[in-house]
Symmetry: C2
Amino acid sequence: MIAVKVSEKSIRRMSHYARCLRMAKIRGEVIITSQQLATTCGISSAAVRRDLSIYGEFGKQGSGYKVDDLLMNIQSILGTTDPPSVIIVGAGSIGRGLMNSGLSGTGGYRYEAIFDSDPAKTGTSCCGKKIRSIDEIPELVKEKKEVIAVIAVSTGSGQRALDMLVDAGCSAILSFTLEPLNAPANVEVRYIEVSTELDVLTHSMRRKERA
Amino acid sequence: MIAVKVSEKSIRRMSHYARCLRMAKIRGEVIITSQQLATTCGISSAAVRRDLSIYGEFGKQGSGYKVDDLLMNIQSILGTTDPPSVIIVGAGSIGRGLMNSGLSGTGGYRYEAIFDSDPAKTGTSCCGKKIRSIDEIPELVKEKKEVIAVIAVSTGSGQRALDMLVDAGCSAILSFTLEPLNAPANVEVRYIEVSTELDVLTHSMRRKERA
DNA sequence: GCGTGTGAACCTCTTCACAGCG
DNA sequence: CGCTGTGAAGAGGTTCACACGC
């Protein structure tokens, strides 16, 4: 496949298309149109076709896209045909909550292990997995080769967790911490910011009140 | 204040500025420059000044912005001076995890209540709050007037939860469900999609491998 | 006829660079 | 002199509308 530079927004939409396609597949649908994908994802059909056409011509004029083929193509583009392992760092409320909720229906991701620095927690179980000491992170990263780490530690410990993960060779991190983290350029860090989402919601709510 | 139409990206950055300002205030700083805000948020100083200048002239040439004043102004812009109540619908792993992790350090938000449809769960406690039946949602929304609801129910029940919330008069929703939800135009729905974030991370990780 | 793929127009956001003020 | 606020230029993403193939 040729390396195509593409915006994060487009990749994010690709992820949505993949999800819709998995659902369509479960419903037994064989063909899907850009219009159907668009409606489900809440965007325009032109945007769908534009996104898909960046990577190739997957559709057939007059009919649409074959669900199975398109899904496989998108997974190949995203690199999720064989998804990397996911580990959780921090066995507090959020970490354990994520572990217990699992990742079913997400196209093959799985929480492989959960770690904590507190000796009172390590050894106890969470969702059938032993909570392991953070000292064991390096060996797991080495064993699994490619790992995405979810940082779910308490405020103030985020940077330490990240440094430890980077040292262990992890290059993809999803953080639930409030504080912005510093990472080397070759390490991708993304954030899930509940409080920012709440701010955006509050803003739009309060703005609408003047109408 | 005059109604200014502004992009969601800008509002999201405003939320980040507010967070930086709260941290600076705790550290006892009185004045802050656009450059300092920019570095902390990982963007350019010009972007910061542009964002702020949309709403007014908050700074002083030659020195910078007064931390306290700017924070109050941004909170007023976001509408978060007196933040709305937040409730959680769904007392599964994620719902309870969120409840237990709380919202401290987010500028005044608070989880006011948690609801579930399962009679086996209602009545039991979570983080010092009784899990209440979803039948009680309408009265709570009415009592609090303005409420943001976090949907943390299991896959397949999201739409039902949303409908119930909308009927109760809730107009701002943050959903952790995988499935896209349908809501009336006057209701703002946002999503937290862990699996999409994982897809984006996988994509960039696998792309870098060819270098 | 139907739905894809795509040039071209359009629009929005970002970056640059500098005037202006404390 | 330092830093803000902002016109102007630039980059990037979205929408339109239509030619083409089934």
